[in-house]
Symmetry: C2
Subunit: 283 residues, 2 copies
Amino acid sequence: MTTHHTAPTQFVEAAGVNFAYRRFGNPEGVPLVMNMHFTGTMDHWDPLVTDGLAKGREVILFNNAGISTTSGEVPTTIEGMAANAVAFVKALGLSKVDVLGFSLGGLVAQEMALAAPDLVRKLILVGTGPRSGEAMETLTPEALAVFGGTYEHPDDLWLGVFFTPTDRSQAAGREFLKRFRLRTEGRDHEVSEKVAPAQIEALGKWGAPRENPHAYLKSINQPTLVVNGGNDVIIYTVNSFILQQNLPNAQLILYPDSSHGSQYQYPELFVSDVSTFLDKNHF
Amino acid sequence: MTTHHTAPTQFVEAAGVNFAYRRFGNPEGVPLVMNMHFTGTMDHWDPLVTDGLAKGREVILFNNAGISTTSGEVPTTIEGMAANAVAFVKALGLSKVDVLGFSLGGLVAQEMALAAPDLVRKLILVGTGPRSGEAMETLTPEALAVFGGTYEHPDDLWLGVFFTPTDRSQAAGREFLKRFRLRTEGRDHEVSEKVAPAQIEALGKWGAPRENPHAYLKSINQPTLVVNGGNDVIIYTVNSFILQQNLPNAQLILYPDSSHGSQYQYPELFVSDVSTFLDKNHF
């Protein structure tokens, strides 16, 4: 069985796009499709998280259209990204999957559930928020400062994005930075300079104010697990609370002293919580 | 080994009060002391929850001063109730316990951690809120309606207190009502008519507006698990969010489609979440 570090990058054609993906883990059960964050590639996932989840199911990582090794253009709407993701999943011949989305990927995951409700069994929304969420039309002041900063080592950017300033969170962050460089063979190349502007445009449309912004959440009936850090400065934590309050069938978990990357700060706890949610049908 | 249904009621003297308690479960590890809600006795706990938690530790139920089989008067402050609870725990000869509090009991649990920080290892706050929490100075309109209602069977009151109006929540509620009547020998008698006024007075003082109402939470450094239903109408759910946001080291879990008694709606999930929190040291 291959792992996060050894799974080869494969390709599948759908919607005119050549999708790069990796697939590994326990072939029993419902596969889990993971949607990545702003400017991220398959190599930005934490192997402790992906391999941990892969013990109980197949984990499918992929680059959406226009990202790194996948062909095509990044759509300027979340709905467009979701349409591509749904086409990708169907091209794999899958008729039922669980869907996890992190940050921008969490917006895509919501739109996947709306666009293809029969395809999605359960939903996991990590470090993300609803349409017209608080401070989601533009990057938050904290995000602008972090993304605009200069760093001794380029990876250090992620310490400010994903972790709080406390000693224990930063220490967990440095462990994460080691882990996400452990795959040495067949890594994705970084995304082109065209990716960030398109994704920011899509985020802006999603986050723009509108009437009854959260009404759409009543149409997402899948059992949903909403997870975030208690102090997320990239997509404010209150947005996770709003998701739980408006989704008909959602559990919320907020972890202590953690920011946007809480699942990388508490990888074992996160894997335990997500596995319980996926394996049991408590709701 | 005795269980929720077979553990005898025992007595211990402390602070001039003769405390009734029951103690059962795995003698290894740190005992868990459970603080009951408004007008409740030891018999109001869910045996699926108490016996589930007792697999990994001793569970200690007790009636605080003036409640049912325990002598004395109900204090008109939460701090007074906490002082009695601390005296009770020390009278058992225990120097380190985990403390769970539900609703009113969650206020007592917070004050126990403040009054005796070395006595309390970890804290579990269920269906509760902070000092000066939202709508915590008086009963909420929903609580007034439920407690003022008339019921075919007296136990039906709890369907409105603990569960949402949905079919699945009410069905879970009816199962709970069966379970909490299963202990037949040595049940507590109902509380006297003096209990509710004293507890309401204490709740009013706790909930009253004050300056910097949540600053005290920074002094509760114990690892804390905050749990509630996503739609608690007795102590509004947002109060659990406020607790998590202000406690230095707290995880929040909100369960879907559930009200004040979410732990009785999802007893197995609750036992699993609490056991993970108590057994592991993820934070």
